[in-house]
């Protein structure tokens, strides 16, 4: 918390209290709805993590056994590893791609609306459609466009993409970057509008070139946006589920250990085996990881704010 200059003044309590009250009144409409219908069930889910529950029979307290079981289960460990690897690559790459696209599509160019819409398209299009196209381009046989490209242009061996444990995560990473970069681009586009033109004009007078303007104006000014994008990206990457199911599950829906991710594991435990306690324990692990990463990102943002 920052020091409050008014703290020394008289009538501080009343004023401070009033301020707090006003603040709470702003938060209340959203928070009450959120607390009752989302936060409550989430807290219950965390309690579930220490219980055995199938949704119907009474809960049975088991302490940390769910967690012990998790960390001795190689399917869970594989899903944890895959999720981390996936996020490690997807978060930075998507972030950079989204920022680059936003800057590109913030220029005054002809057909800007069209290009912006086109970039956002993969995010909104039906996942069945985009996955089908993707699978067609990345088909494991020699007929696929990507394999043709590999063989004829790069003179490399064709890859089996989603069908091989070695390349399945690569395929999923490429796919998610392509699918979601338009989404984060929209956030950056909105963020770019908040930067005052004055700053650029002043820099231009000082003789700054485009690259300098980017480093010393655009990037620092975008810090709140980047914080938002990186937190949301991290969370969404850790929650990846349907993309994996579509790409790696294929026509029989069998997702192999090589492509298992956390939420898929959670889904399996919750709705195939009805082990809600174990599913909650797994999600608590996910929660803690994301919380730590978010805290680190939060520290970065606050450092900037104090600069």
């Amino acid at each position: 918390m920052r020091s409050n200059p008014e703290a020394a003044g008289t009538g501080f309590l009343n004023r401070q209290q009033k301020r707090t009250l006003v603040a709470y009144s702003f938060i209340a409409p959203n928070f009450i709805g959120f607390a009752v219908f989302t936060l409550g069930p989430i807290i219950l889910a965390f309690i579930m993590a220490f219980n055995e529950w199938d949704g119907s029979n009474p809960m049975k307290f088991v302490g940390i056994r769910n967690f012990i079981d998790l960390f001795t289960n190689d399917r869970f460990l594989a899903s944890l590893k895959n999720t981390v690897v996936y996020s490690l690559f997807t978060v930075p790459l998507t972030l950079v791609a989204a920022l680059a696209l936003a800057i590109l599509l913030n220029q005054k160019i002809k057909g800007r609306t069209f290009f912006r819409t086109v970039t956002f398209f993969p995010y909104v299009a039906s996942l069945v459609a985009v996955a089908a196209v993707w699978n067609m381009l990345f088909t494991p046989g020699k007929g696929g466009l990507m394999n043709q490209l590999l063989m004829n242009v790069f003179h490399a061996e064709p890859l089996k993409w989603a069908a091989s444990p070695k390349t399945v995560m690569l395929t999923i990473i490429l796919f998610s970057i392509w699918k979601t970069m338009g989404y984060y681009m929209v956030i950056y586009l909105a963020g770019l509008q908040g930067i005052s033109e004055d700053l650029y004009e002043a820099a231009a007078l000082d003789g700054a070139n485009t690259i300098q303007k980017f480093w010393y104006i655009t990037l620092p000014q975008l810090k709140p946006t980047t914080f938002f994008v990186s937190v949301m990206l991290t969370i969404n990457c850790f929650k990846i589920y349907d993309i994996v199911y579509m790409l790696a599950g294929g026509s029989n829906g069998v997702v192999n250990k090589s492509a298992m991710v956390l939420v898929y594991y959670i889904y399996e435990e919750a709705f195939r085996n009805w082990k809600l306690g174990s599913a909650s324990a797994a999600s608590l692990v996910l929660f803690v990881i994301v919380l730590i990463i978010t805290l680190i990102q939060f520290k970065f943002e606050k450092n900037y704010a104090n600069d």
Partner: protein
């Protein structure tokens, strides 16, 4: 002078080449959706895919309306989406103001708790949430979907980050002029955050429009179901009619794309700067 002009020309050419490739990569699935929506089911997953030169089957676009009550589903979806989007924008922008521009005890902690809950996958608390909602008599109601979607932490987070970009000095100046916090929110922050509001509007619209699992769990009466449930009805236990699925998907995409094109107009430099200068 001459070289600067050429440089700009070259830059422009490069930009357009990049954009062209971008458009192609992004549009392939769209073209696939449209061509697939005009085919018989068995011709869709054949390798090599036939992009051109097949006889279009326009019946698919007729069948989707008669096979299932798609029009009814579209109306339901539209209703839910509009209500959720409005509520979300209202409550989120309101709460975000407090997190960004007011100082009060526990602000950072509360904010962090907000964000952190986004990380909990819905699959985990779906069952207790459902039991709770049913106890309140909200199972199989549109109200349940509205409640689930309208009060999200995501919107608060998004708006708060954009408010952070707006200089505090603006608010301070208004406070000195005797404006109340509600006045500052309504007359200064809201007009300045049009790009952010557009963003939130787009995202909420898309998410509610495309939501599948929520309506699937909660809405069991036929007349209350939504578009995405309807589209999945073409996948039955023993067959999947991808021609119809794609036709319905193309239809369902139209409102989303129109919405995006209308709202992205607000991503124009100068909206905020003008006000800040003034």
């Amino acid at each position: 002078m001459q070289s600067k002009k050429t440089n700009r020309l070259i830059a422009h050419i490069i930009i357009y080449i990049l954009l062209f490739f971008l458009a192609v990569i992004m549009l392939v699935p769209f073209v696939w959706m449209i061509t697939a929506s005009l085919k018989l089911n068995k011709d869709i997953f054949v390798i090599p895919y036939q992009w051109l030169g097949f006889t279009p089957r326009w019946e698919n676009y007729v069948d989707i309306w008669t096979r299932i009550p798609l029009a009814k589903y579209a109306v339901n979806t539209a209703k839910l989406t509009v209500i959720v989007t409005l509520l979300q924008i209202l409550t989120s922008s309101f709460a975000a103001y407090a997190f960004a521009k007011l100082r009060f005890k526990g602000r950072n902690l509360l904010f962090l708790a907000y964000i952190a809950t986004i990380a909990v996958p819905w699959q985990v608390y779906m069952v207790p949430q459902f039991i709770f909602m049913r106890k309140l008599g909200l199972a199989d109601t549109h109200l349940a979907i509205i409640i689930l979607q309208a009060f999200s932490a995501f919107g608060v987070f998004l708006m708060r980050q954009f408010y952070e970009e707006i200089p505090d000095s603006l608010c301070e100046a208004a406070r000195i002029d005797g404006m109340s916090e509600y006045g500052i929110y309504a007359h200064i922050m809201l007009p300045l955050s049009k790009p952010a509001l557009s963003t939130l509007c787009i995202f909420t619209f898309v998410n509610t429009w495309n939501d599948f699992l929520g309506p699937l769990i909660y809405l069991t009466t036929d007349s209350k179901k939504t578009l995405q449930i309807g589209i999945k009805m073409f996948i039955s236990q023993y067959s999947a009619e991808y021609g119809l699925i794609m036709a319905a998907s193309v239809i369902s995409l139209i409102p989303v794309l129109i919405m995006f094109m209308l709202l992205q107009q607000y991503f124009v430099a100068g909206i905020t700067t003008g006000a800040v200068k003034g």
